[in-house]
């Protein structure tokens, strides 16, 4: 799992497999955002889950949120080589100021 000052985590899987990445956060958040960053690019939002939601789906993506344990997960089903990227979770720490706190990220490598 990822958070704060932890080093980048790495996962390597075969194309077609399913994968789940975890994220733990330290304080209250109104939303968890998951970003994907491909090599040489800036991060881009892929899915967002609010504190009143337990699960959110978008295509092959599924995000869960457990506010009691302050954790979120991102699952990708039927991975493709193009899913190779670094995945970050981000929380707002309850802030109304528009700041996000990003986790250290998970490097996912999908082998064709």
């Amino acid at each position: 799992s990822q958070w704060g000052e932890e080093n980048l985590q790495a996962l390597s899987i075969q194309e077609g497999e399913d994968v789940t990445m975890n994220c733990s956060y330290k304080t209250y958040t109104t939303v968890v955002q998951w970003y994907r960053q491909k090599s040489g690019k800036g991060p881009a939002l892929i899915i967002l889950i609010r504190s009143n939601e337990r699960e959110k789906r978008s295509g092959r993506l599924r995000a869960t949120l457990d506010t009691s344990s302050q954790s979120s997960s991102l699952s990708i089903t039927g991975t493709l080589a193009t899913d190779t990227a670094v995945y970050f979770c981000a929380t707002d720490e309850g802030s109304a100021l528009g700041r996000l706190h990003f986790g250290a990220g998970t490097q996912l490598i999908v082998i064709p």
């Binding site: 990822q2 080093n7 980048l8 800036g42 939002l45 700041r99 990003f102 986790g103």
Partner: protein, 113 residues
């Protein structure tokens, strides 16, 4: 039609020199952010802004200044660059109307020799 652009994309600077990184957004977002990203680590917030004329310190502001002269433009200034500031810098924009989702530029790779 990239909504957040950064310039330059690559920069080599000398220690003690002044470096200015520029960011432009066409999203009409109120908030803009500067992050640095170092190998194997996440994004660390340097400075941010809520609108033209405002700048706020993020988590690692030392050695950096910021300027927001307009809604569209946000600059990061390294007055006296040091090798420890070698990194990839990302600019982002966002606002409450979009649930504070941040839209990132392509990044600037800075090498300080």
């Amino acid at each position: 039609e990239a909504a957040v652009t950064q310039s330059p994309r690559n920069k080599v600077a000398v220690t003690g020199g002044k470096v200015t990184l520029s960011c432009n957004q066409t999203n009409n977002h109120n908030n803009m952010y500067w992050y640095r990203q170092d190998t194997g680590h996440g994004l660390r917030l340097i400075h941010y802004s809520y609108g033209a004329g405002s700048t706020e310190k993020g988590d690692i502001p030392d050695g950096y200044k910021a300027s927001r002269p307009s809604q569209e433009n946000f600059s990061l200034i390294l007055e006296l660059a040091t090798p420890s500031q070698t990194s990839v810098y990302f600019c982002a924009s966002g606002d409450r109307a979009h649930q504070d989702t941040q839209y990132f530029g392509p990044g600037t790779r800075l090498l300080v020799l």
